[in-house]
């Protein structure tokens, strides 16, 4: 079984035990995707983690986009901005870095 910094991950790189997550794991996951996590990345990652804590699901991209725009300004509330941060998809890649399961409805 593959692991990142000792935390078990599934075949798509998502954490098996959500409780294993820490910031170092996010940084390490990003590094292997050739991404240097910026403050803007962390805004989204933290948003995703808070959303999951509150609602027990990872938000759909549409919901995420709308909420990011509301919280961080209109210029950030679009998929172009979010894809510039997470080229493999803000849902899939963002949730993976955030230690969440794959978003419901994301195939």
């Amino acid at each position: 079984m593959a692991d990142i910094l000792g935390a078990e991950v599934d075949e798509e790189g998502f954490l098996v035990n959500l409780g294993d997550w820490n910031k170092e794991i996010a940084v390490e996951m990003a590094k292997s995707d050739d991404i240097d996590l910026s403050e803007e990345h962390w805004d989204v990652i933290n948003f995703l983690r808070n959303y999951f804590e509150e609602y027990q699901i990872a938000p759909a991209v549409r919901v995420l986009t709308k909420a990011i725009g509301k919280q961080f300004g209109k210029e950030k509330g679009n998929s172009k901005y979010l894809y510039s941060l997470f080229p493999y998809g803000p849902g899939k890649q963002g949730c993976r870095f955030a230690g969440l399961p794959k978003p419901t409805g994301c195939i």
Binding site: Y51, E54, Y55, Q56, I57, P59, A60, R62, V63, K66, A67, T104, G105
Partner: protein, 134 residues
Amino acid sequence: MATKKFMYLNRKAPYGTVYALESLEVVLIAAAFEQDVSLAFIDDGVYQIVKDQNTDGIGMKNFSKTYHALGDYDINQLFVSAESLKERGLSADDLMPLVYEDEDDDWAEKPSVKIVSNAELKELMSEQDVCLSF
């Protein structure tokens, strides 16, 4: 794609069977298709949105929290059978205060839950293109 009216009928209590969670997941997935979606809670289904659910003692995910996200998914018509509530000794105060933000009204928070009689529910169902029962 033409918009159709979808109604999800929720008839089972949560946790004892997987129906409630399955329905919720299907609703969230189907929300991506931007149809006109409503949920109806009848029979023991009303227990799905009763407040103060605490699953610590049974080691299952407390997915009652997820119903609060439905507003984000533009699902803001949750109909609850008045008769089903009454039969179970429940009232509106026993339900979670589920709300949505109305985009056309400066994001004002509005209640999503509406208690209706079975006669009203019958009317609502007859207006649907698709009814899915869980």
